[in-house]
């Protein structure tokens, strides 16, 4: 009798667990693959030299080589450095922070490359304690380059000090390798069709402080967006480019924005000699939107971007974003965001963000989450 009760209990447990596994498979999580890079297909990728936005000298060649080694492990075929350099020399390609449509087409035709990996170094410090910030994106080649994958990583040596400081990383090379491994594994996950899904949840601390949203964007529709260069009113050089990349990264992950490659927009601005002094005028916005086939024009301004390069220093970031809709020529989104890295701390530095990279990333995620109307809480 006892045996039969145990037996029925076991059967019940197995059935219950099987049901639980089945049901949990149906649960919608934030990790759904919102964008994929043809799973299963081996990619041939050209890795561009790093775009140094940190404003400091950094071992760019070593970082690039280390990144190549790691993405090769993810099953990506990388175009040789010599071939990449020859191509860049042939096309007098000096700007490595983006790629325009002509160059992307040439990469496809001449080097038989499927995509180009563009990486920007946002922050680099070797000594006390080491810090690194990277933003990387994979852009398809061909006549219409598309952002296939994008991610950013910001680490410091004291992110997880642990008990008695055993978790501290004092060696900059170890920290660099850790950051590059995380970036490469994120790319690997995207290649396997397990990319990060839309951002549906985030701490309320990093939400825009003031924002306006017109009833235009619908969660189930996709909008082509041209993200224009941000104005930089902060003391940090290149802060406009850095914040723009974070915003694009966050928007790409939302899934309902097809954000145009920034290199295409840069080339368009150079071609038409468009100079903005205080924001884009409606006639220029109309021209840019029509020539790039974009429905939305995003622009912005960075007011603060500070990375305090001392242990315990608190980063500070402030920026504004506005979006103009092509047809109505009206602002459909405007927001003001500003935060400090320690605003989400309740006790013992839990929830503290140590770099402007991670802080900007959180703030951009909050902006994109709200803007996309995809159930952001």
């Amino acid at each position: 009798m006892i045996l039969s009760i145990n037996y029925s209990c076991k059967i019940s447990c197995i059935v219950f667990l099987a049901g639980l596994v089945f049901l949990s498979g149906c649960v919608q999580t934030g990790k759904t693959a919102a964008f994929r890079v043809s799973p299963g297909k081996e990619l041939r990728v050209a890795v561009l030299p790093l775009d140094n936005l940190s404003g400091k000298t950094a071992p760019l060649k070593e970082i690039k080589q280390s990144l190549i080694d790691r993405i090769t492990l993810q099953g990506v075929e990388v175009l040789s450095e010599k071939a990449t350099e020859r191509f860049m020399a042939r096309y007098r390609m000096r700007y490595v922070g983006g790629i325009d449509a002509d160059t992307a087409q040439a990469f496809k035709e001449e080097e038989k490359v499927d995509a180009v990996l563009i990486t920007s170094l946002e922050l680099y410090q070797e000594g006390g304690p080491p810090r690194i910030g990277l933003i990387s994106r994979l852009v398809s080649t061909g006549s219409k380059p598309v952002i296939l994958w994008m991610d950013s990583i910001g680490l410091t040596g004291y992110d997880s000090p642990g008990i008695l400081g055993l978790g501290l990383i004092e060696d900059s090379v170890s920290l660099r390798d850790k950051a590059l491994s995380l970036l490469a594994s994120s790319l690997g996950e995207a290649l396997a069709g397990k990319g990060k899904g839309p951002n549906v949840k985030g701490p309320s601390t990093y939400r825009p402080k003031v924002f306006y949203q017109a009833p235009f964007i619908e969660a189930d529709k996709t909008y082509t967006m041209a993200a224009l260069p941000f104005f930089n009113r902060s003391e940090k050089r290149n802060a406009g480019e850095i914040v723009l990349l974070h915003i694009i990264n966050a928007l790409v992950h939302q899934g309902n924005f097809a954000v145009l490659e920034p290199g295409i927009i840069r080339q368009k601005f150079l071609n038409i000699r468009l100079i903005m002094n205080e924001g884009i005028s409606l006639s220029d916005a109309d021209f840019v939107a029509n020539s790039l086939n974009a429905e939305l024009i995003l622009s912005g301004k960075v007011t603060d971007y500070q990375d305090v390069l001392l242990e315990g220093g608190v980063p500070k970031v402030g920026f504004s974003v506005s979006v103009i809709e092509k047809m109505s020529k009206k602002i459909i989104w405007a927001s003001e965001s500003y935060n400090l890295g320690n605003e989400d701390v309740i006790f013992f530095d839990v929830g503290r963000l140590n770099t402007a990279n991670t802080l900007t990333s959180e703030m951009a995620r909050a902006v994109a989450g709200r803007m996309s109307r995809r159930g952001y809480q």
Partner: protein, 188 residues
């Protein structure tokens, strides 16, 4: 009893020194504010030492005005283009003719101009705090008349700051409060 009275007097004296917000406003009683749909916010005259202050405050003001949902604010890029095309000599204090010409170009029902008098840290003894002082006026573009004018001061060294220190509220927060206050004065 005597000590109690002295403490009370000291307390009143100290609170009288505390930073307060001013409340000044003018609202044209004959104006139909409901008819104003599109507003252009011109660059603020910046009387502070911070060169970016005017632009920062104007940005917050524009977004907060849009966020009310009551009016539409013309993008700053379009305003800059309008200023350039009308050849305004001083966009922070335009003449009536300039406003009428500018408004016709950018299709604005009203124009807001303003002066940023103070923005940043103030010190009082050993205490410091952030302060903002701003005044704005709305000009109706059909007639060129001032229909609304208000000023606000927020932040400053308070009794709490003197007693406990801490440097007061962050400047962004003080700016947000001041702008909210100004907008309340426009709608109420």
């Amino acid at each position: 009893m005597r000590n109690f009275i002295i403490s009370g007097v000291i307390f009143l004296f100290l609170t009288a020194c505390a930073g307060t917000g001013t409340d000044e406003k003018y609202r044209d009683a004959n104006m139909d504010f409901g008819a104003i749909q599109n507003i252009a916010v011109l660059p603020l005259a910046n009387l502070t030492r911070d060169q970016q202050a005017g632009e920062r405050v104007r940005d917050v003001f524009v977004t907060a005005l849009l966020a009310t949902g009551g009016v539409y604010v013309i993008p700053t890029g379009e305003v800059a283009k309008g200023i350039s095309l009308t050849g305004m000599t001083n966009p922070t204090a335009p003449s009536k003719e300039e406003i009428l010409k500018f408004a016709a170009l950018v299709k604005a029902d009203a124009v807001i101009t303003g002066v940023l008098r103070e923005y940043g840290e103030v010190r009082s003894g050993s205490s410091t705090a952030n302060v903002i002082s701003l005044s704005t006026q709305m000009i109706e573009t059909q007639t060129g008349r001032v229909v609304w004018s208000a000023s606000v001061t927020k932040g400053g060294v308070t009794f709490k700051d003197r007693l406990l220190g801490g440097g007061g509220d962050p400047l962004n927060y003080v700016t947000e409060k001041a702008v909210d206050d100004l907008i309340n004065k426009l709608f109420m």
